[in-house]
């Protein structure tokens, strides 16, 4: 399918809106015939990247090479690419046939050739009987087919798809996924696909690009991304997972949930804090009370169609999600073990919050756009400092007014015994918090930090 010949090369692509970077140093090579998916939550920059490739917006930095030529100055109507839009954007004043023929008519192609191509492509998307229909009288799925037909009839070198299935219901979406995959194989066109649905990305793609906050987190095959996520964000975003705090004791030996395990990862150093990912289906559960690696009590058990999804409280107080074909009803005592090669160890992105700050007075320092009270310091006012705040040192307040600054719960990660929250402050800074309290994504909070938890170090630069 995908050859080795490169069709698109994206170098250092950066886009800012009003000083805010929405896409940061994006680099990617796409091979001819490849099915590439940009995957990430909303606001991660995936659609921006697609629109940059299509030419609807221009980058602030970097270049996009199509078959070796920089297309930065080429307007969208001269790029040999076509787009399937999220809400289809079918022309309401034209019928199905004229919508599909729109691109070819602009190329001044002979009418009989247009006719032949349009009929062929409408047959391909199974819309032959709808040629004269008003597009607004079509169902969502049918409109989707016309949108695809309208794009591929032009035989583009690359087809861009912006969340094309997002508006369809689940059953229809799954059918269309298969059809898209077939179509991709049949046409041999390079597909660049944008979605926030990880299942869709894993099903369809040759290569998945996981994005967050305008940055690429990981590029890899669906299998790589699932089995070897590079950080806790990717692990959490792709599939179900238990993400836990751990310590790499030495090569191939890691401790987490209060036990030591053999693993296959090495090269982290000794006694280094790490994130550990174990997929729910990789924890083996039994009724044994001895001979297992660790023990606990089932707290809930739900049938999910094929497997049972259980929550287990381990004797050491960690909560784990486990999937198994057998049911272990709530309340039962169980033993569990994990195989070495099912433990995925990841470098921690950070071990505490660090900010750039400046000393204001003997007991005040400014960072995150605000002044904070600190334990008295001997540093001169005006000194640039590095401010460190442990994850557990940040207090979240229900009342926004009670905090020194305000923020929004932006991302939640459950770590087995605590929640690791990402807080986006009202000035767009990020702050990481460990807490036992339950918050919801989007909750507005006040942020307080105890003066004794703020550590400042003189910045040497």
């Amino acid at each position: 399918m995908a050859g080795t010949e490169e069709i698109i090369r994206i170098e250092h692509l950066t886009k800012r809106y009003d000083g805010k970077t929405v896409l940061d140093d994006f680099n990617l090579n796409i091979r001819k015939g490849e099915f590439v998916t940009f995957l990430g939550p909303s606001g991660c920059g995936k659609t921006t990247t697609l629109r940059l490739i299509a030419g609807f917006i221009t980058p602030d930095e970097g270049r996009i090479l199509l078959e070796g030529k920089d297309i930065a100055t080429v307007p969208p109507y001269e790029r040999p690419l076509n787009t399937v839009f999220q809400r289809y954007a079918l022309f309401p004043h034209l019928d199905v046939y004229d919508n599909s023929a729109f691109g070819l008519k602009l190329q001044k192609m002979p009418t009989d050739e247009i006719d032949r191509k349009v009929r062929k492509v409408l047959k391909m998307v199974a819309m032959t009987d709808y040629e004269d229909r008003d597009v607004e009288s079509l169902s969502g799925g049918q409109q989707q087919r016309v949108a695809i037909a309208r794009a591929i009839v032009n035989e583009p070198k690359v087809l861009l798809l912006d969340e094309p299935l997002a508006a369809l219901d689940r059953k229809m979406r799954e059918d269309m996924q298969l059809e898209l995959k077939e179509m991709h194989q049949k046409l041999g066109i390079t597909f660049i696909y944008v979605t926030h649905d990880q299942e869709e990305a894993l099903t369809l793609s040759d290569t998945v690009v996981v994005m967050r906050e305008g940055r690429i987190q990981q590029i890899g095959t669906p299998r790589d991304i699932y089995n070897e996520p590079v950080n806790s964000f990717v692990a959490d975003f792709i599939g179900e997972s238990n993400i836990l705090n751990g310590t790499m004791i030495r090569d191939k030996r890691v401790s987490f949930i209060g036990h030591e395990f053999d693993c296959v990862d090495k090269g982290f150093g000794e006694n280094v804090p790490v994130d550990v990912v174990v997929r729910p289906e990789d924890i083996y559960i039994s009724r044994k009370t001895e001979g297992e690696q660790f023990y606990g009590k089932v707290t809930s058990c739900i049938f999910k169609g094929v497997v049972y999804e259980m929550l287990v409280q381990t004797d050491e107080g960690y909560e784990l999600e486990i999937q198994d074909y057998n049911a272990f009803e709530a309340g039962s005592s169980v033993g569990m073990h994990v195989h070495a090669n099912d433990i995925q160890v990841m470098k921690k992105e950070r071990v505490c919050n660090t900010f750039e700050g400046e000393v204001v007075s003997a007991d005040r320092v400014s960072f995150l756009g605000e002044e904070w009270e600190i334990a008295p310091t001997s540093l001169e006012p005006g000194t640039k400092v590095k401010v460190e705040v442990p994850f557990g040192g940040v207090d979240l307040q229900d009342n926004r007014e009670d905090g020194t600054i305000e923020g929004e719960v932006y991302f939640i990660l459950y770590k087995g015994d605590r929640y690791h929250l990402t807080i986006k402050t009202s000035e767009d800074y990020f702050l990481y918090v460990d807490t036992q309290d339950i918050w919801d994504k989007g909750d507005l909070v006040g942020v307080k930090i105890d003066p004794k938890d703020i550590k400042i170090v003189k910045d040497e630069d």
Binding site: A54, Y77, F85, A89, F91, P92
Partner: protein
Amino acid sequence: MRIKRSSWAIPYGIFLILFVALPLLLIALYAFQDRSGAFTLQNFVKFFNTPEDLHTFVYSIEIALITTVLCLLFGYPAAWILANARLNRSAVTVILFILPMWINMLVRTLATVALFDFMKLPLGEGALIFGMVYNFLPFMIYPIYNTLHKMDGSYAEAAQDLGASPATVFTKVTLPLSMPGVWSGILMVFMPTISTFAVAELITLNKVKLFGTTIQENINNGMWNYGAALALIMLVIIAVTSTFTDEEDKRADEKGGLI
């Protein structure tokens, strides 16, 4: 006693009957009566046999058409610029265009007269058309602006994506999709201009006579039946225009437009 919700409509119903339905019925009734109240078609026969009135009628339609076309020619580009986010970054400019609609038409018209006087320009047909276009331009701009402004930007992007240059995007997508607004605009300009008379009287100091003036003169001179017949003829023209534009409106697009 419990008041039904539909009872709230009674005052409006009475208002509509008294000031809309009844007068219309009276016009229709008077048009087919002679002075003594007997049924006759004489009023209409008289109209077709009075060259002066017939001429005024045709002339009024001409003026209304010219006004509508000029309003469209000036109004569409203005609406397009206002709706274009790159050319117009503030809502204030839109308000500036709509602002004249808030001022009484007579005040605007008298101001036009004063302006023409000041510039020593003749107060003839040219002044009349100027005054009409000036008065009715906002009614053309607003509905077109409205459709253009609400139009999903992805249509233009889709067209570009399929190879349409900016000019082609306009002729193949933007213009056809803005037709509901255009038809609304035409309706809102043509209908009032065909029946206007105050503007003509004030601007041209009664030198140019429009059909509205003819009707008013007849009624003022006690010729109620003939005046009613003329009014009925005008109503028919307006009704025909609005049905025609309604049809076009539906054909162009079910959504959009102002009314």
